[in-house]
Each structure stands twice: as C-alpha cells, then as structure tokens.
C-alpha cells in the first residue's frame, strides 16, 4: 500500500464521515429514548434511588439527543444544512458559556439557600446534555422561524 493510496483512503473515509446521518425515522426513536430515560431518571430519584438506573438514564438521555441531532430531516437540502450548521455553532458557544457561568450560579444559589460555600464544577454529562439540548431545540426553532 503506497502513501498515496493510504491518503486517498483516508480522504474517502473522511468524506463519508462528513456526510454521515441517520435516516429521518431515527429522530422519533431518539426522542423516545430521551423521553423514557428522562422519566425514568425522575422516577428513580423519587422512588428507587438506584445508582445503576441513574447511570443508564443519564447515558440514555445523551444517546437519545445524539440520535435526534444526527438524524436527517424529511428533505435534507442546502437550506436545512445551513440551519443545522448555525445550530451547532450556537450550541457550541452556548455550552462553553454555560460551562463558565453555571458553577458561579450554583455557588450563589447554594450560598443563598444553604449558606454553603462550595464551588462545584459542571460534570461532563451536564455539558454534553446542554450542548445537544441547545442544538436540537435551536435547530427546531430556526426551522420554524426561518422557513
């Protein structure tokens, strides 16, 4: 295998990866997974307090939003692609800003309510949830307002 053919293979793989999207019907499946896991997380928090169920629910919400995020629209044209890119840009900036701001808000709320002075940083899951949640909802909002 020559270097040129390796580079050519990498280029083709990258192109395939760039265009990778799930079919439109997976959007509903992703939404359903996220909803079920969201409900199970609440039920678990109030009734069972099971660590394994809590972890599964967290992963499930993330997976559900990811599936929704990478699912195609019924007609995936250039306008939709542009809106999708705008929503990813917005979500990325919003998630970074939230990662900066949220710990200070948490600190202020904890201090106001409990009088505790504990500085807690956001976990990976919270940041990823926020990123996907903002992307999915901002994309839907853009479709309704721009289209």
């Amino acid at each position: 295998m020559t270097l040129k053919s390796i580079l050519e293979y990498d280029k083709k793989s990258l192109e395939r990866l760039k265009r990778f999207q799930l079919p439109n019907y997976s959007k509903k499946i992703g939404g359903l997974i996220a909803l079920i896991c969201f409900i199970s997380m609440f039920v678990n928090a109030f009734y069972f307090d099971n660590e394994a169920l809590r972890a599964i629910s967290k992963f499930g919400i993330l997976l559900g939003f990811l599936v929704v995020s990478i699912s195609k629209e019924k007609i995936e044209d250039e306008f939709i692609i542009q809106l999708r890119m705008q929503s990813y840009t917005f979500a990325f900036i919003a998630a970074v800003l939230m990662a900066f701001i949220q710990p200070f808000i948490n600190y202020a709320v904890d201090f106001a309510i409990n009088g505790e002075q504990v500085f807690k940083e956001n976990g990976d899951f919270v940041i990823l949830w926020m990123l996907l949640f903002v992307q999915v909802f901002y994309f839907e909002m853009l479709k309704r307002t721009q289209g």
Partner: protein
C-alpha cells in the same frame, strides 16, 4: 440580494410546494428565498433559472449593499 422568485412562480401559476418538489428542496427553502432570508447556492439558482427558462441574472439581482 433581491429576487423575482415569487413573480416567476406566479407566472407559472405554481405553489411553493410544487416548485419545491420540481427542484428537490423543501417548501421552507423556497419560502426563505422568496422572503430574502436565504441566498441559494449557485446550483440551486441555476436549477431555478432553468425551470423558469430565464438566466440567473433575470431572477436574482445584486443590491448596493451586496
């Protein structure tokens, strides 16, 4: 950039939905172009021009701020 998409569509007496189907985009895309919220790609502009039997310049016109 201004465009005469709505006028050309009215001449052909077709709806946004019908036009969208003919060139393989969504109705929202046609609506956004008509309302000047979205500037189409060269490929889409050429497809529209071909469908209306006119040149791209007859449908899309640059404005001073462009």
């Amino acid at each position: 950039m201004k465009n005469r998409l709505k006028v050309e569509r009215a001449i052909l007496d077709i709806t946004q939905e019908e036009l969208a189907k003919k060139i393989g985009v969504s109705r929202q895309t046609i609506n956004s172009i008509e309302k000047n919220r979205y500037v189409p790609s060269t490929v889409l502009a050429l497809k529209l021009a071909k469908l209306f039997g006119k040149s791209v310049n007859d449908i899309f016109t640059l404005e001073d701020e462009d």
